[in-house]
Symmetry: C2
Subunit: 332 residues, 2 copies
């Protein structure tokens, strides 16, 4: 069986020699969460995350330069949102096969829109020649230790998600020209394409969660896969009630089985998945009045793994799927 | 004429909309120097730099995974050295065509050596599938505003370089199997290959320069090209005395014309090039006793451009060459 992305990191790069080669005192969180933490002083922590987008792996060949620029930055910023950090700045490492001025103009326009929407400044980067590769590193800030990690979910906490699921999966199907339901209207199509190409990182919700949520991450690999990451990091079990999965009006055009597949398994939604102590349950109504769409989809239970309840009691999910680079994933 | 790397950055990405989309107050230096500066508080600044290494562009196809890992990190850290910053942490964005465990093992070993040599901790990153692309982002720290930028060189300052020049050019010639002088001994060969594959970023010298040098950068594109960057950023002229260029014993095996070509034009040396106010001239003898090899190779003069003096008076250099990605550079 080939090594997956996480195996590669764990086996080759997550070593004491690499993680502690420098000044350990400043590194308050290393490899393994959505982002790393550096602490210049006890009052503040900087949150750092790096992502690469590769054509054919992270996005289909049919793309617009503005969309892919938007998506590259939004996806990276989503890791800041997942940590409860405020975006500050980003760098861009752009590898291009050729200098196509029209392409660059559109790419820069999309990047500018994403920078504005996420209130984050470009501070540097480099451009090189080679196969298209878009590398984005983002920097954010959290106050003191009010940060959302993956590892402190406790039995009894509520499992919540910040908005509808599966939309990006449907959006990708549209991009790939798959057959669409006859009832699907133009507005719904536009919404789903937007959700795939231009996800908005949930930074404002993330700031609300800092100091409140016991654990959290952003859904990039799919609900079940990312719930698996959270469960493992916190050493708990997560029970998900499939009837409570939030579904957009646009997604309702598809049959129930297809909706379910996308809501549970499709990646790229970039919604925040988090656990909320029952003592903080009243936050849910506060957030609702503030306009945040937060749904309770299950709960944290002692044990391990991700469990799905289709109305006949929770059953453990054996193959959480999700997208791992390098693996012959069946559901990418 | 095709757009070069610097034109691409200037034209498409160095825009107010991108540079000021976020919280400007934290960004104390944006695009255009060796690295960016973020200031979490008035006492400290964080220095951030991103580099991508592409096979066939930044390194030849004949490489060892351990060497290329070492080189990727050292090259990125060199930007911290150029700013006078202390290395703290780095992230790795690794794009690989396949998972080859032997390759990864050697790569991680080289990366570990480089991390140890530069005292910098790996804090995160990602791995994806695609054409080989090694993206490294580095983070360092400077105290207060003791930072070395490119822009404050003053007429009268001395132009200095931190060690021999042209070695990496000769090293690359060896890698590419070019004819070598009959007198070249094994030890010299090993030294030159080391200088190409495993440059050591001059962080300790950089720390000495912080608060002392009026301007500086690291030589990655070649002496004349990088001197050109410094001259432009500081709006001064630089006069270089070709008789004073520091040449290693190993390089002396080549004829004078070849040595000169490499010392002036070859990239990849990663020596610090900086300007020193005459008032701080005594630092030179202090550094010598500390073991730093610093040579004075010229001076800063009012005016513009890079001027070369071959003993018959300074002549302006019209084609500073150097390596720019995307350009059909004649001397890469």
């Amino acid at each position: 069986m080939p090594l997956g992305e996480f195996d590669v990191i764990r086996r080759f790069f997550r070593t004491p020699a690499l993680e502690a080669a420098g000044d350990e005192g400043r590194v308050t969180l290393g490899i393994g969460d959505d982002a790393a933490l550096l602490s210049p002083d006890p009052e503040k922590q900087w949150v750092i995350s790096t992502d690469s987008l590769i054509q054919g792996v992270h996005f289909p060949d049919q793309y617009l330069p503005a969309d892919i620029a938007y998506r590259a930055l939004a996806v990276a910023v989503s890791d800041l949102a997942a940590m409860g950090a405020r975006p500050i700045a980003f760098t861009l490492a752009l590898t291009l096969p050729t200098v196509d001025e029209d392409w660059l103009e559109e790419f820069a326009a999309g990047l500018t829109e994403a920078a504005r929407d996420h209130r984050i400044s470009l501070i540097g980067g480099d451009t090189t020649r080679g196969p298209l590769n878009i590398g984005v590193s983002v920097f954010g800030e959290v106050n003191g230790f009010k940060v959302v990690r993956r590892r402190d979910a406790q039995p009894g906490d509520l499992l919540c998600v910040g908005g509808s699921l599966g939309d990006a999966g449907a959006g990708l199907a549209l991009v790939q020209g798959q057959a669409v339901p006859a009832t699907l209207d133009e507005q719904s199509q536009a919404y789903l394409l937007q959700r795939f190409w231009r996800p908005l990182a949930q930074c404002e919700l993330g700031l609300e969660l800092a100091g409140v949520a016991s654990a959290g991450l952003d859904i990039s690999d799919g609900l079940l896969a990312d719930a698996g990451h959270l469960a493992r990091a916190s050493q708990v079990a997560l029970h998900i009630n499939s009837a409570q999965l939030p579904c957009s009006a646009a997604l309702m055009h598809w049959p129930a089985a297809q909706r379910r597949e996308w809501m549970l398994g499709a990646g790229d939604d970039y919604r925040l998945l988090f656990t909320l102590p029952v003592a903080s349950e009243r936050c849910l109504s506060v957030w609702a009045t503030q306009g945040f769409e937060v749904s309770v989809i299950g709960e944290v239970v002692a044990g391990e793994g991700v469990w799905l309840d289709d109305g006949d009691g929770p059953k453990v999910v054996t193959d959480v799927g999700g997208y791992q680079h390098f693996k012959d994933a069946s559901n990418d």
